[in-house]
Symmetry: D2
Subunit: 223 residues, 4 copies
Amino acid sequence: MSKTPIIILNYKTYVESTGKNAVQLSKYVQEASEESGINMAIAPQAVDLYPIINEVDIPVYSQHMDAITPGGHTGSTLPEAIKETGVTGTLINHSEQRLTIADIDAVVEKTKDLELTSVLCTNNVKTSAAAASFNPDYIAIEPPELIGTGIPVSQANPEIVENTVNEIHKINKEINVLCGAGISTGEDMKAALELGSQGVLLASGIIKADDQKQALLDLVSLI
Amino acid sequence: MSKTPIIILNYKTYVESTGKNAVQLSKYVQEASEESGINMAIAPQAVDLYPIINEVDIPVYSQHMDAITPGGHTGSTLPEAIKETGVTGTLINHSEQRLTIADIDAVVEKTKDLELTSVLCTNNVKTSAAAASFNPDYIAIEPPELIGTGIPVSQANPEIVENTVNEIHKINKEINVLCGAGISTGEDMKAALELGSQGVLLASGIIKADDQKQALLDLVSLI
Amino acid sequence: MSKTPIIILNYKTYVESTGKNAVQLSKYVQEASEESGINMAIAPQAVDLYPIINEVDIPVYSQHMDAITPGGHTGSTLPEAIKETGVTGTLINHSEQRLTIADIDAVVEKTKDLELTSVLCTNNVKTSAAAASFNPDYIAIEPPELIGTGIPVSQANPEIVENTVNEIHKINKEINVLCGAGISTGEDMKAALELGSQGVLLASGIIKADDQKQALLDLVSLI
Amino acid sequence: MSKTPIIILNYKTYVESTGKNAVQLSKYVQEASEESGINMAIAPQAVDLYPIINEVDIPVYSQHMDAITPGGHTGSTLPEAIKETGVTGTLINHSEQRLTIADIDAVVEKTKDLELTSVLCTNNVKTSAAAASFNPDYIAIEPPELIGTGIPVSQANPEIVENTVNEIHKINKEINVLCGAGISTGEDMKAALELGSQGVLLASGIIKADDQKQALLDLVSLI
């Protein structure tokens, strides 16, 4: 498992985080991480993993991994193919790419076989408790009602973060919790950590910023 | 649009066509193409597109393209990201990655905007006629009852190839037809061309061969 | 095939068109049909088909039919089970329940075997032309950008209706065209027919009306 | 919540359990239940719920419930529509109709609001533990490798049943466990109960029997 990443930047499928832009953005993330001393990781599209891993030296995650074994699965993402790029780990069950409960189990198991770090995304306290049964390395909670609102979960609903941490740790104290949805400022970041999370999963707040590197530095300025 | 590819090798998600193996296989395909003078193209997993395109000089296709525009689509394959790898085109609607009719329309249109060659997969005469309304560059017909059987469509059901070609050409004479499912020998290949197709889409027959390059040379030995 | 239905009311999953409300609404539709002399049909949820068919004597359609054959498909809708309720036909490929092109083919064929009327939904001129290759009884075009806007397709984009009718009739002159999305007034209805359609497929404009029966009578008041 | 059902017969989409056949089968189940004194419940297709509930007086479950609220969801199964039929409860997340973890949470919550009994299906010990976090009334474990084999889970893999019961009861002792996959004889049934389950979920072993009622009586003959 990688060091606590504190920040995972999900590149999604924005133009600003695709292809050459993705490589450039990854260099900014590396610079921001080195200047601040805070661990920062990235999750680019599958197609961009190789060129980015060739250019930067920060933890890189896949955005998704299909619950498939080698064979006839045209257009899918084979776990072994993802592993071979040199990634650190993968997001699993992001709200934009939900899996069935049987597939979550299969993919988390597969990350263990492949020695990849697993970041399992959930949407509330109860699904986080369920997710803890699979013993992923991280659980990233993103209440869907806050995604894209600019309202951080740590402010709109601080008890959801605390309750999530508590419920998860009842089942397995080793699981780290990340806080997603609405995080964009240094104060959001600080609040997220004070509520018991070990970091944040975020996207558009940084990717769409005029100065992406500065936005990252601002994000970690109060911790 | 690329020259008639005659042969498109779909890498699917086999171990033999993933990562370093995929790069090596691509070199064999290039050698077989150069030695035989027959145009051969490949369709690797999205994650392997960059390393392969860096190493070989044959037409490379994506296996799939999601009907999405830039934005929040974690884990999906953005058409613009695929384009930027340098691919020639993409498979669309493979039997292992079916699309809705509205999405087929959207993706074929997108390939035209991006100047990519479209290979639209279908399963019978009627869906091929419907597919022709979208004016893709190629229609690849793969009767599902033959996939993986080793029985070539050109032998099991020769009239399906002829009828498909006829029905498609009633709507648009410019569309090339590829023949899929069960093709593995030189005789299958010859029969496929005699029935009016311009080439074949194939996978395991070559990928699982002990000598992949020789299997390709055998495949084109009678044409 | 039933008489040209002129109007098909899609009950979707509104409270106002579920259970006892659905039975009551169906009686209003029958009364409006009898009073106006205009053929009106309904498409309730699968679960409500039997109680409605027991109570009214107008054409009843299923909202959907899965592309399955008898066997292990827990939670799906078997075509034979739908047929046995006594329905006249089924909607296929509604924008809220899209099918792959292979499944559209299979379901339209199944409706022919079962002697059910098929109403195949599409979203633009090109997908309508593709849909015509399957020879359904009706094609209902609903441009997604107009759904739920209250702006009728016949007004926002009249040429889409005319072009759809033309393209469909190039392939098969027997196919009737229905116009969907945004229809709610007598003028919308009149325009839809003048543009070459044989009727309309509509939902919330009637279902959410304070007086559902009067809304139907208003809808047909100018024809 | 209904009494412990001991036996839930999933009608799936077999011809033998569709339409009039489904009504007749339901009468046989009621007779077998009355003669044996064992509680037996059934899960027919949504379309057949009303006619069956009108004819028999045993607990009836829906096979599935979509995670939707009233609105525009053509072709889906609204929870409120299912409730209004008079069902006792619903299966959730059957292996032939898997849900995302967020949707499982939403549907189980919905069954509580609607006062319906929830039977949440799982495939192994770990997903059963995760499922327990949602506090359904029943968890039915069906190892996919045994489905349709005729080999009962209680015989092929007895410890999976015991471990599932143990893991579930660590989280919530109130949850009843059902055993699925491969159960068809009285000995299978007896073993399933001895391993700690409160009953079985089964399908083809009974539905495809020449004498369905006798097959049910045999099933409970040793308990």
